[in-house]
Symmetry: D5
Subunit: 96 residues, 10 copies
Amino acid sequence: MLFKVDMTVNIPLDYPKEQAEALKATEKAYSQQLQREGKWRHIWRVAGLYANVSIFDVKDNEELHSILMGLPLYPFMEISVTPLCRHPSSVKDDDR
Amino acid sequence: MLFKVDMTVNIPLDYPKEQAEALKATEKAYSQQLQREGKWRHIWRVAGLYANVSIFDVKDNEELHSILMGLPLYPFMEISVTPLCRHPSSVKDDDR
Amino acid sequence: MLFKVDMTVNIPLDYPKEQAEALKATEKAYSQQLQREGKWRHIWRVAGLYANVSIFDVKDNEELHSILMGLPLYPFMEISVTPLCRHPSSVKDDDR
Amino acid sequence: MLFKVDMTVNIPLDYPKEQAEALKATEKAYSQQLQREGKWRHIWRVAGLYANVSIFDVKDNEELHSILMGLPLYPFMEISVTPLCRHPSSVKDDDR
Amino acid sequence: MLFKVDMTVNIPLDYPKEQAEALKATEKAYSQQLQREGKWRHIWRVAGLYANVSIFDVKDNEELHSILMGLPLYPFMEISVTPLCRHPSSVKDDDR
Amino acid sequence: MLFKVDMTVNIPLDYPKEQAEALKATEKAYSQQLQREGKWRHIWRVAGLYANVSIFDVKDNEELHSILMGLPLYPFMEISVTPLCRHPSSVKDDDR
Amino acid sequence: MLFKVDMTVNIPLDYPKEQAEALKATEKAYSQQLQREGKWRHIWRVAGLYANVSIFDVKDNEELHSILMGLPLYPFMEISVTPLCRHPSSVKDDDR
Amino acid sequence: MLFKVDMTVNIPLDYPKEQAEALKATEKAYSQQLQREGKWRHIWRVAGLYANVSIFDVKDNEELHSILMGLPLYPFMEISVTPLCRHPSSVKDDDR
Amino acid sequence: MLFKVDMTVNIPLDYPKEQAEALKATEKAYSQQLQREGKWRHIWRVAGLYANVSIFDVKDNEELHSILMGLPLYPFMEISVTPLCRHPSSVKDDDR
Amino acid sequence: MLFKVDMTVNIPLDYPKEQAEALKATEKAYSQQLQREGKWRHIWRVAGLYANVSIFDVKDNEELHSILMGLPLYPFMEISVTPLCRHPSSVKDDDR
């Protein structure tokens, strides 16, 4: 089941730089693990912003929730979730 | 070059049904042609809405503009365009 | 899988009254059929508005989409979809 | 009398973790007590967010106000209140 | 139980003048009947706008809903409903 | 001359509790004095929020301004002012 | 008593041109009469828009309401009203 | 050349009171100097808010910018700028 | 004096096609005349939208207003005007 | 390829003045270097605001992203990106 998730990251100006770098490294590892498992299908950077557009492929709402809550940068993020379906005009049977 | 395009379709209630169906068929053919050419990389339906989330892969802004202007349903659409880049956390070198 | 769906109905002032009444009757039958099947779990009227708050229990995003697209009053509605999960503070194991 | 209440929790990044955990535990006990009394009829987590959708069944506006003001996490919440009625299309006489 | 209701009236420019006048007369009679019954406690005009601020005193959400749905000008109105309580700083025990 | 004033109070989480209580006590006394003078005609709590809806009856804009500026909690408030008139459908000649 | 009033005029595209011209002429005469009486103190055009910023000097909210309701173009306007006071930094005692 | 400028002042709660008073005094002197020079034509207080509506008469955009940037309270202000023209319905040739 | 003007064009679906084409041709001629005179310095299409971003160089607000009011497509446009200055970081003395 | 970028700068009130000045100097040098390279085509100050409107001419989205991320004041900015094309009414073949 597919979801688009828009994430914008806001790390406060006075947040310790080292801690921020550590968090970003953990975030990257966490994201790449999920990408390899096929659950985080796509991640694109929004040009000019510290933000991304992601496509998740999960079993259900619960799994999506637990993946997002597990994001190391979650406390710094604004998140918006959009449930997706196959589009009847898609040339692919199962575009993920 | 990648762009996310969000499209919402609003066909007025009193628009002739047959014409609407004809337009939708042309729209579908137009979209599928571009999908086969690799320019319209993804199209997903937003659950519950007459709307889609699409990913385009085009040479430049001009090409994106001319593709969107050519949409048979363009006059009925609200469109929002977001330029995308590769995300540094992506496990793929070139996720399109 | 649960979804909250907020629906607001706007029938244009000049829409033929009889047709509107017929649509509303079909809508009611459609909704009640889904309620009896356990897919439309709750429907409440928003006080003072021609709007409702509904809870759906469906297999996946696709089923939700096809139920909503089948609403006889769909062309007159503004719809907003929110995916839900069990809340960790709920006293019920499976509140639907 | 039914009310939908949407609650979003924002605990500041620098709030002491232990205190936050203590508050959440008190919040859970408070919520579950009211659920058992039948006043907090439903609570669902919004997928991907630290937010919930709740249905309250109270005697009047005053009781709703005093329940919400009593929430241990109230100072950290954004709250929006929507008064509800039975929906004429509901198959239940008294859906709570 | 008290509710503030904000109503804004938008009668389309091409709506027949006589019908509009007839509706307004019925609206006035309807409002005054409810004022005399003590259910529509206050109605004030917003300066410069075709809009009012009203205070209703009703048994429950259902009664409020049925009063508002009965407004002759309801199809031309934007309505927003705010449930109210006694304020702890009020010098009156029961300000209605 | 009547004005509706909507006030929402936001006291920062780290504001000293005792000082907040002292301010609220002064606010209450200030409000009740003006209520007794007939200038602060109504004050209602918005259910579920630390907010009120108030009706003021003042000589002119200047007096309203100086009353609001004098609110002990003013620095913590969001305020919105709406000038009101007698409504032609009111059954009272002078509803204050 | 001073009020700033922002007015934006939207005459529908299919409104008969002659009627629109007649209305504008009446509007101008109405405005100039009130300017000469000292009630409509200032009127400025917003550059690039069919909109104005006006300052009214009236006895009370009622008078403002009745002046605005009398505007020949009122049914085509969006209006927003802001009550004003003398500013303590003004070099004039009575800037109208 | 005329501009309407809307200014809202937000001095943080924990800003030293003395410094704030000093800034306000400088602001007043700055404003009155420009009023006397005929560049700051009008300044009105918005009733109930720490905000003003001002009319500036300057040579060009540059002069407006440099005047606003020079405001002692500028760092605490939200500012919105609206270029104005003579209104064709004005009874004055040159209403400043 | 420079202004940024954002223009979005909305021609109603049922507007006669021929008339629309005629208007667009007049609009183009009008725009090109002003470009040649150096008053309409830049015009760019917004990718994917029937909208443009333009830079005008005019004597004053009045001239800008009269140019915009003269746009053949003005009645179909949403317009927003932003006064500009030379930027202190510009490498050009007079970037127009 | 052209992009309009709107930047608004918000340096917190308590940010050390010297550091802010140093950042602004680096920002200016960075901007001027890119202007000289022809990548940052235009930069204009928005009158009355600490904000600018800029036009970038870059190879692709990636280059735009990396330029914006490199802005010394980036952490203090709100940024909005709009992809542009040549406008069919432009008198220039290649207006950059």
